[in-house]
């Protein structure tokens, strides 16, 4: 592997400005929470970053360092990134306006890659609380055993069980005796509460031991319950995990788990959160998650950005390869891009004001960072991205790209149920019911009768109990999200 340069450590290209260096450094430090050191080896990472910043933020030291760097080689970026906008130009208005942008990531055709699957470094973190007892845990156990049998010799695997505390059942890098390992899994018992932080903490320390640019480093959390009181620690752990390049995905079984919380945690790391409503789907969901990770080109694409003054990023949503809302903040974690396929991110910008006499308006700029495990030339990449639009005097009339319209048509339905949930949360039942009714109408119009029926059932629940049913809430959220999946959109167009 190439020696990482000071610029690589901060995720910057060599021509980065002083302001950009400072911004990148701050972002990294914020995510690492050095004050809350969990002794995961991030101290080392922190010192590396600190050192890089001290060098590069001092113009003289930076110049000296630049001199000793070898001439930059011309390397074709392995990803080609295209930006689409909802309108060809902006006009100055006396009121705030919105602009949508779609980022399209594709593998550059000239890129040669090892097409075999990427080696895994994963930890399965399994909830063994009382509620998992019976067929839920049994299915997870059998699937874990099958999974271990399918692993490649260079994959690294660990298994953590947790309830009120965590226990390391299979430690990373120790998979040799299959028989005794399987026995250990068979003997897993359910009992106790659900302390997700304890489980994640142990899973993270296992993955971190073997963390490498040449692997997909990931934690898979399987749970069916709510964690209490350790949410903030989990959030910080997610930040650290993401700064270390380790993703967290979650599979929530049944109706009792906290979908908002796990969405948030997984999204912070570029992972995904799935709702398993049927026990019969547990197995395929776990195996699907493993094969998704194995076929990834790059696990964490991040976007370290700075919006211009008077511009705010209102929302970010990943439309492909899966559909998930992204946690706002810099950097944005775009997540996993598959080796075959693309990644689409939809951004919603609020433009509060456009200064006079500009020909071009920059909305935001920053750096896309990603690693390509086992790439022959190098593994770390950075690409500069600028979002900008021409300012025109009159509006140029042009329909937005169909990809943006189609995505927004469905996203607006997802947002509608999110709003209804918020409204129920603050006790505004009338508005919630009104939004649910328009949601039902829109879903029927699109031919989504099952989901429309779920909405109608929940309207009845709202009227009767002043609240959603737990199961309906999740079906609505993940159901409206799944409308955006590429397969569903193609179906709709056929």
């Amino acid at each position: 592997m190439e020696k990482s340069s000071l610029y690589d450590r901060l995720g910057l290209p060599r021509d980065a400005s002083v302001e950009e260096i400072r911004h990148a450094y701050r972002q990294l430090v914020l995510r690492l929470h050095p004050d809350l050191n969990l002794n995961l080896g991030e101290t080392e990472l922190f010192i590396d970053i600190q050192q890089a910043y001290e060098h590069l933020s001092d113009p003289k030291r930076k110049a000296d360092y630049d001199k000793q760097l070898p001439e930059p080689r011309e390397i074709v970026s392995p990803l080609s990134i295209t930006t689409y906008y909802s309108q060809p130009s902006l006009i100055r208005l006396s009121e705030p306006q919105l602009l949508y942008s779609l980022l399209d990531f594709k593998l550059h055709p000239d890129t040669s890659l090892l097409m075999s699957s990427t080696p895994l470094n994963i930890s399965l973190v399994v909830d063994c609380s009382t509620s998992m007892q019976g067929i839920r845990l049994d299915t997870v156990k059998l699937t874990a055993i099958d999974l271990i049998r399918q692993l490649q010799p260079n994959d690294i695997f660990s298994l953590v069980k947790f309830n009120d505390w965590a226990e390391l059942l299979i430690s990373a890098g120790s998979l040799s005796e299959l028989k005794s390992t399987e026995m250990k899994i068979q003997l897993l018992q359910a009992g106790g509460g659900t302390e997700i932080f304890k489980g994640l903490e142990m899973g993270l320390s296992q993955v971190n031991q073997f963390r490498s640019n040449n692997r997909v480093n990931h934690i898979i959390l399987i749970t069916d319950g709510r964690t209490y009181g350790d949410e903030v620690s989990c959030e910080k752990l997610a930040d650290q995990s993401s700064a270390l390049g380790i993703g967290i995905s979650a599979l929530g079984i049944g109706n009792q788990w906290n979908d908002k919380f796990l969405d948030h945690i997984t999204s912070k790391t570029g992972g995904i959160c799935q709702y398993i409503s049927n026990i019969s789907d547990i197995r395929s969901s776990i195996l699907g998650e493993i094969s998704r990770l194995g076929s990834s080109l790059t696990e964490q694409i991040t976007f370290n950005y700075l919006p211009s003054q008077k511009v705010e990023l209102l929302s970010a949503f990943r439309l492909q390869p899966d559909s998930s809302p992204l946690v706002l903040g810099s950097p944005l974690i775009f997540g996993n891009m598959p080796r075959l396929g693309a990644m689409h991110i939809l951004l919603e910008f609020l433009i509060k004001d456009i200064p006079a006499k500009l020909a071009n308006f920059t909305l935001a700029k920053g750096f896309i960072n990603y690693e390509i495990p086992r790439h022959i030339i190098k593994t770390k990449y950075v690409q500069r991205i600028i979002f900008e639009r021409q300012i025109s005097r009159e509006l140029i009339q042009e329909a937005p790209p169909p990809a943006i319209i189609n995505a927004m048509a469905l996203l607006s339905l997802y947002h509608m149920q999110e709003r209804a949930r918020e409204e129920v949360g603050i006790g505004d039942l009338n508005s919630a019911i009104r939004h649910m009714e328009s949601l039902a109408g829109n879903l029927s119009k699109k031919g989504e009768y099952d989901l429309a029926q779920t909405v109608k059932d929940e309207i009845a629940n709202l009227k009767r109990n002043q609240s959603f049913s737990e199961n309906g809430e999740k079906r609505l959220k993940y159901g409206t999200r799944s409308l955006l999946l590429p397969a569903r959109i193609e179906e709709g167009n056929a």
Partner: protein, 170 residues
């Protein structure tokens, strides 16, 4: 500001859909302030009640209309005629529809050869289904054949399975 033609909700310029009711906004013409005659359903009721005597002459100076093919992101302007037939052309058919949806996979979408018509007038245009094989829906409701229905900016109608939105440029 954009005012939703369907529910009157206010959205910021640049918004593509109404957050309240999910209607798609005009996407090609967007003046800083756009106002559109209110609540369609009220007007529809009024209209249906005095249906028999209803004759609306085409007004020559009226606003120009276009059709937005939702699934294709294509806009077809309606210019020069007072009434347009919609359908798909086929080789053995002597009459061509004014708007040929055969170019947009009309057959696969279940569009009939002579499916419907749009008559242009103000303040509403009128949509008539010609008793087509797969029928026509207007804003989610199936409409009766051979009866004109008023439609206005932002309304979505579906021929077979082809979704089309009426756009009024002002």
């Amino acid at each position: 500001m954009i005012i939703c033609p369907n529910c009157g909700n206010k959205e910021m310029p640049g918004a593509l859909f109404c957050k309240e009711c999910g209607s798609q906004f005009i996407t090609i013409s967007r003046d800083p302030t756009m106002t559109i005659p209110s609540s369609l359903s009220d007007q529809l009721h009024e209209y249906l009640s005095d249906e028999d005597e209803h004759v609306v002459p085409p007004t020559p100076e009226n606003a120009s209309l276009s059709l937005f093919l939702v699934d294709f992101g294509e806009v077809i302007p309606l210019e020069g005629l007072s009434e347009y037939t919609l359908g798909r052309s086929s080789e053995d058919q002597p009459i061509l529809p004014d708007v040929d949806l055969g170019l947009y996979h009309g057959y696969e979408y279940g569009v009939s050869r002579l499916h419907a018509s749009i008559k242009i007038s103000t303040p509403y245009a009128f949509l008539t289904d010609f008793d087509s094989a797969n029928g026509t829906q207007l804003n989610g409701q199936k409409i009766s054949p051979n009866k004109p229905y008023p439609i206005t900016h932002g309304d979505i109608f579906v021929l077979g399975e082809m979704k089309i939105q009426l756009l009024v440029n002002r």
